[in-house]
Symmetry: C2
Subunit: 665 residues, 2 copies
C-alpha cells in the first residue's frame, strides 16, 4: 500500500474513512458573516474532498453547527464557555457536532482544527475542546519583489507579482489563504523589504486597487494585510524635500497617504518598516531617533486602528574589519533599549531572535525581556536562508522551541514562551518559505516549517516533537511513513548545526548567496561578522573585558554567558575567543570537537539519506525522488562543510584528528 | 595655461599650430576606393579639426597626395619602395607630402600615423618613413551581451547592443572605427562569448541585416568583422539532433549557414569560438577532439576566405579542490599540443598569454613556441578584469612587453616578440576596454591601454615606455603634464603587482566580480586555482616531482622554472610550494617579502595619487577630478589588499613584520 500524497494539498490529505459521517453530512450556520460563511464552506468542501463524506447539505437542524459562542448560546440556549479572542470550542455528542468561535475568525480556526483532529483520529463522541491563540499578532512578511523574484526565496517565483506587476493566480492565492488560516496566521505583509521594492509602488493610486483585490481574497480567511512601506516615501513618492519624521509636511503626507490607503483597504492591519537598516533610509538620516521615526508613521495609522511594525534590524553595515571597537551584536540593544517607553501604543517593534541574523547557532537577543514599556514581537525566518535553502532538510521548530525555552531572567515567568503567553511579547513575525513551486516550499518536507510556525504562534507550549508528529501524520497518511518522517525532521536541525559554523561562531557561509561554506567569506567584509581565527584561537571576546555585549543581558545571564565554564558550549564561540586547545566538558579540545562535529554532521546526513531510501517502496515515485534528490544535494553540501572546515583548521593549526579520519591537505 | 583635453577624442587632440600648412591645405587622391576615399576624408577632416589648417581642398596637383604605392608609382612615375601588406610610406619634401600605402588600408594607416607624427612634432621637410605591421591579424573581441551589458566591461554599456537588440549610435560606431584604425586594429569580433549571447542571434536571418549594417560602418576603416558563434548552433539554432562535428548533417548545416552569412557580409573575417570552455558546449560533448571540432567549422568558412579563431581556454572548471592530481595550469598544453599539425590551414588557435586566466603575475603559457605546425595567436586582455577594472590605474603594455620578452627556447629567435615578427605566431587577439562612457574607457588614462595594444600589435619591438610617452604626448598637449602622466603609467603596473596576490600565486581576488582581495575566495572552489596556504607554506609544486606542469616548457625553461634558485622570483609561487621562511635573493624571507611588497604597493599608490594632485593647476577640472576620484578608490583598494594579505599571513604564521609596521589583528 503506497502512501500517495498530493504535495500541493500540504497537510490536507485525503483520508480513507471518517467517523461521525452521519452528523457531518449536514452543516448548519445560523449567523451571517463573510468569515463564518467561508468557515462553513470550507468545512463542507474539505469534508467531501478528503473525508469520504459524499455530500454535505446545509440546514438549521444540521448534525454539525458552526457559529460564534455568543450567537449559538443565544439562539440555541447552549451554555458554551467563553474563551479568548480568536479561540474556539469544539463539542461532539452523539447527536451533534458544534464548532463555535469566540468570534467569527475563531469559528474558522475551529473548523480547520476540527478537520485536523478528524484526520488524526482524535474526534470522537464526547470530544470537548477549548482552544485559543496565545497571541493576537501572528504574521508572515513576504520579501517578494515586484519582478516576481523572491528575496531569500527557495520555492520558485512570487505568488503575487510577475514582471513588474501585481499578477497572480486567484485560486493559488485562495489556497494559500486556506493554508495560512488553517495554522492560525492572521497577518500577511506584502510589499517586499529591500531596495525600491513593490512596497513603494503598492501605496500609489495606480496599484492600490490591486492591493484591495488581494485583501478581498484573504479577508474570508481572517488574514489581514500589512504593507511594507519605505521611510523615504515622502520624498521619493511625495516629492517633498525631506522625509524628516518631525517635519510637519512629512507628518501630513503620511496622514494623507494612510487615509488614501484605508479607503481601498479599510481593514488593513498596518505598515511594516525596515529603516536605517542595510542601506535603507531611516530617521538617522535626519538626526532623529527610532522612536521619533516610528511614531510619525504610527500616528498616521492610529485613526484607522492600524499598527506600525518597526524592525529592529539596525546596525552598522559599513564596518571596517580592522576596527575591533565595534560589535555588531550589540547594535539592536544599543539602539532600542534606551528608547523603551517612548514608542506610541500602536507601534510593534519586531526583534530578530538573535543579535546577528537568523544564524544556525546564535544566542537569543538581549532585547527580549529588557524591553518592558514597549510592545514588541519575536522575528524568525521560516524561509531557510542560512539553514539550507530548502535543499537541506532543516526542521526549524526544533530551533524555535529552544528560543522559546530561553529564560531572560527578567522577573518570574521570564522565558520567551512565558513572555509570549503572558502578552509581554506581543506577537510573532516571520518570513515565509513559499513560492509558485507546485509543492509550495521547494522541499516537500519544508512544509513542516510553515506548519510548525503557525502552530507555535498559536500555542508556544507545543514541543517540536509534537508538531513534527502532527504534521507528519497529517501529510503522510501511512503511520509508519509518518514515524520515519518525524524522525528525519527531528534529526535534521542538530545535524545541520553540526556541519555548519562551529559552536556559535556564525557566518562561515558563502557571502550574498548564503548556501554552503566560505570560512573567510565575511572575514574582511563590511558586514561586522568576524571570527578572527588565527593559528592559536578563534572567536570574539564579548565579555565585559571584551566588547561588553554580554552585559546587555540580565545579570544572571551575563554571568552565565560571560564565563566559558558556564556558557552553553553550543554558543561558546559567540561569546568567547578560545584557543584551539581549550578543553571542553567532554574532555576533548575545542579543535577536536570541531573535527568531531563535522565528521558526525556529515555521517548524520548520510544516515538520514538512508532512512529516506527506506521509504522507497512506501511512497509515490514523485515525492520519493524529489526529496531524495534534495537529500543527495544536502549530502554534497555537508561534505563541503565537513571538508572545508576541517581542512581550514588543519592548515591553520597542523593538529591532526585524534581518530585519524581523512582531513584533506 | 591649462591642458584642456577632450577625453572623447582620445589621442586626437587639438594642436595649436602645424608645420607644412601650405602643403597640407590641399589633398589629392588619384585612385578610387572606399578605404582610400575615407583615408583622404579622414586626413582632411582631422587636419581642419585639430591642426589649425583652415580648409583642405582636393585636387590632383595637391600639396599632399594619398594613394597606393603601385598606383602613385604608375601614375606619377615615382619610385616609392614597396613594403609589406598594410604598410605605408610617408615622404615629405619641400614641395610635396606623400602618404602611400602598400594597399588601400596601408594608405589609411599612413594617414593616421602621419597625423600622430605631426602632433608629436616629428614631421618635417625631409621626413621619410616606411612602416608595416608585424602581423596581419590584429584583433579585438567584444564580450558585449545583447542586453547591452558588457561582460568584464568597466566603461559603461555596449557600443552595439541595447535591451535585446542591435542598437547603436552610428556616429559613435564610426568614431570607434576611427580609433581602431588609427592604431592598426583590423579585426573586430562581435557577438559575445558566454552563455546564450548575441552570437547565436546574430547569425539568424532576422539579425544578419544588422550585422551587415555594422560591417558597412567599419569597412571604410579597414576593420573586418568576426562573429562569435556557438559550437552547439546546429542543434540550438538548426534543430538538428546533434552538433557532432563529424556528422554529415552538421557539416552541411555549417556550410549553409556560412553561405547565408557571407551573402550579408561578403568580407567577413570569420568566426570566433569558445568551445568546451567554462560550460560552453564543444567537441568533447561528442567524443571528438578539438581539431575535429575546429576543422568542421573552418571547412564552412574556407570557400569564403574566412578564418576560424578557436580559443584554447579549455580546462576542467568543475574540479574538486581535494583532488591534487589535477593542475589547471597544464590544461591548454595537454589538450592542444598533441593536436599540433592537425588543424586546417584557416584555423587560428587563440592562446591566452598565461596558463591561468589573465592574472597579474603568471608565466607565459608553454604552448608558445611548442606549437610548430599550427597557426596560432597570442591572447591578452585590454579590459582590466583582474588588473583593477579601470578604477585602478594599471598600464598593461608594461606587462605585454615582458610577455613578448619571454624566450620560449624553441630554436633561434625564440622570444614571443621574434615569433610574432617572424610570423610563427600569426597574430594577436584581445578583449577591449571600451563602452558608452563618454571617455570610452571609464578611467581616462586607460585609453593608453587601448592605444598601446594596437601599437604593440603593429610593432612588437616598441617598448612600454616609448608607447607611454607617445600616448601621453598625443593626449596631453602640455609636455610636462605628459611627462607626469607617462611616469604614472610606468609606475602603475609594478605597483599593482606589489599589492596584489604575491609572487605569482594568483587568484586571491574576489570571486565572480574579480575586484579587490579575497584571499581564500577561490580556495575551495571548482575553478582549479588554489594556493593551499597553511601555517608553514604556500603554493603548488609544479615541478617534475609535483604536477609536472614545468615539464611542458622547453628543457632550458623547465630547468629555469623548476629550481627555486633560478626561477624568477616574481613567479616563484606559481611554480613552487615554499615555506614562509624560504630566503629570497634579497636575504629576506618569503613572508617578509610578502609584507614588504604589500606595504610598498600601497605607498606607491599614495605616491601616484600625490603625483596626480600635482597636476591640479595644469588640467581642466573635469579630467583632473574624474581621474582623482579613481586614484582615491585605488588607494582604498590597495589598502584592502595590503591589510588583508598581511593580516591573513600574520594570523597564519604569527610572524611579525621586521620593520614593525602596522599589521591588523
Amino acid at each position: 500500500m503506497i502512501c500517495n500524497i498530493k504535495e500541493y494539498d500540504c497537510w490536507f490529505q485525503r483520508r480513507a474513512s471518517v467517523p461521525l459521517a452521519r452528523l457531518l453530512g449536514s452543516v448548519g450556520l445560523l449567523e451571517q458573516s463573510l468569515v463564518l460563511e467561508n468557515a462553513a464552506g470550507e468545512l463542507s468542501a474539505l469534508l467531501t474532498k478528503n473525508f469520504a463524506v459524499l455530500s454535505v447539505v446545509e440546514g438549521k437542524d444540521a448534525g454539525t453547527l458552526i457559529g460564534t459562542i455568543p450567537g449559538l448560546n443565544a439562539q440555541l440556549g447552549l451554555k458554551l464557555p467563553s474563551t479568548k479572542p480568536e479561540g474556539f470550542v469544539i463539542k461532539v455528542s452523539d447527536t451533534r457536532v458544534i464548532i463555535a468561535g469566540q468570534d467569527e475568525i475563531g469559528a474558522l480556526y475551529g473548523v480547520y482544527r476540527f478537520l485536523a483532529l478528524l484526520a488524526l483520529g482524535k474526534i470522537n463522541v464526547g470530544t470537548e475542546l477549548i482552544d485559543a491563540p496565545a497571541t493576537q499578532f501572528r504574521s508572515l512578511t513576504h520579501w517578494d519583489n515586484i519582478s516576481g523574484d523572491v528575496i531569500r526565496g527557495y520555492a520558485g517565483k512570487s505568488l503575487f507579482y510577475n514582471n513588474g506587476r501585481v499578477d497572480y493566480d486567484e485560486q493559488r492565492v485562495i489556497d494559500y489563504a486556506r493554508l495560512l488560516a488553517s495554522i492560525g496566521i492572521n497577518r500577511l505583509a506584502i510589499g517586499g523589504t529591500f531596495g525600491p521594492g513593490p512596497g513603494q509602488l503598492l501605496i500609489t493610486e495606480s496599484m492600490l486597487p490591486d492591493v484591495a483585490r488581494l485583501a478581498a481574497l484573504f479577508r474570508p480567511f481572517g488574514v489581514k494585510l500589512l504593507l511594507n512601506v519605505k521611510f523615504s516615501a515622502p520624498y521619493t513618492l511625495g516629492k517633498l524635500p525631506t522625509a524628516d519624521p518631525l517635519d510637519a509636511d512629512v507628518v501630513a503626507w503620511w496622514k494623507e497617504r494612510a487615509d488614501l490607503i484605508y479607503r481601498y483597504v479599510p481593514d488593513l492591519a498596518g505598515f511594516v518598516v525596515k529603516a536605517d537598516s542595510e542601506m535603507e533610509p531611516g530617521p538617522f538620516d535626519y538626526g532623529r531617533n527610532h522612536a521619533e521615526g516610528a511614531n510619525a508613521l504610527a500616528a498616521a495609522l492610529a485613526p484607522h486602528g492600524g499598527e506600525l511594525v518597526w524592525r529592529c534590524f539596525v546596525y552598522n553595515c559599513a564596518q571596517d574589519w580592522r576596527d575591533q571597537s565595534i560589535d555588531r551584536a550589540r547594535a539592536a540593544y544599543d539602539v532600542f533599549k534606551p528608547l523603551d517607553g517612548m514608542f506610541a501604543d500602536n507601534v510593534l517593534l519586531q526583534v530578530k531572535f538573535g543579535p546577528y541574523d537568523f544564524q544556525v547557532l546564535e544566542p537569543v537577543s538581549p532585547l527580549f525581556g529588557a524591553l518592558s514599556k514597549t510592545r514588541y514581537t519575536l522575528e524568525v525566518q521560516v524561509t531557510q536562508e542560512y539553514t539550507g535553502q530548502q535543499i537541506d532538510l532543516c526542521y526549524l521548530p526544533y530551533k524555535w522551541e529552544r528560543i522559546l525555552d530561553f529564560d531572560t531572567r527578567y522577573g518570574p515567568r521570564s522565558t520567551l514562551r512565558e513572555l509570549l503567553i503572558d502578552g509581554k511579547i506581543s506577537g510573532v513575525g516571520a518570513i515565509p518559505n513559499v513560492g509558485l513551486d507546485h509543492n509550495w516550499t521547494g522541499h516537500t518536507l519544508a512544509q513542516a516549517n510553515l506548519y510548525g510556525y503557525g502552530r507555535l504562534c498559536w500555542d508556544p507550549s507545543l514541543s517540536a516533537e509534537q508538531i513534527a508528529r502532527e504534521w507528519s501524520a497529517l501529510t503522510f497518511t501511512d503511520a509508519s511513513v509518518a514515524d520515519t518522517v518525524s524522525e528525519l525532521l527531528l534529526r535534521s536541525y542538530p545535524a545541520y548545526e553540526k556541519y555548519n559554523a562551529p559552536f556559535g561562531v556564525c557566518f562561515m557561509v558563502t557571502p550574498a548567496g548564503h548556501y554552503g561554506p566560505n570560512i573567510e567569506g565575511y572575514e574582511f567584509s563590511p558586514w561586522g561578522t568576524y571570527h578572527r581565527a588565527d593559528r592559536f584561537a578563534i572567536g570574539i571576546d564579548r565579555t565585559g573585558s571584551g566588547t561588553g555585549y554580554v552585559t546587555q543581558y540580565a545579570p544572571e545571564n551575563a554571568a552565565l554567558f560571560g564565563d566559558p565554564a558556564t556558557c552553553p558550549e553550543q554558543l561558546i564561540l559567540f561569546f568567547h575567543r578560545l584557543r584551539y586547545d581549550y578543553v571542553m566538558k567532554n574532555g576533548q579540545t575545542l579543535l577536536q570537537n570541531i573535527y568531531n562535529t563535522h565528521f558526525e554532521g556529515y555521517d548524520e546526513v548520510k544516515h538520514m539519506l538512508e532512512l529516506w531510501k527506506g521509504l522507497k517502496d512506501w511512497l509515490d515515485e514523485h515525492t520519493y525522488s524529489s526529496v531524495l534528490t534534495r537529500f543527495e544535494r544536502q549530502l554534497a553540501n555537508a561534505r563541503e562543510w565537513r571538508d572545508q572546515i576541517n581542512t581550514y583548521f588543519w592548515r591553520k593549526t597542523g593538529i591532526t584528528d585524534a581518530h585519524v579520519r581523512k582531513i584533506y591537505e
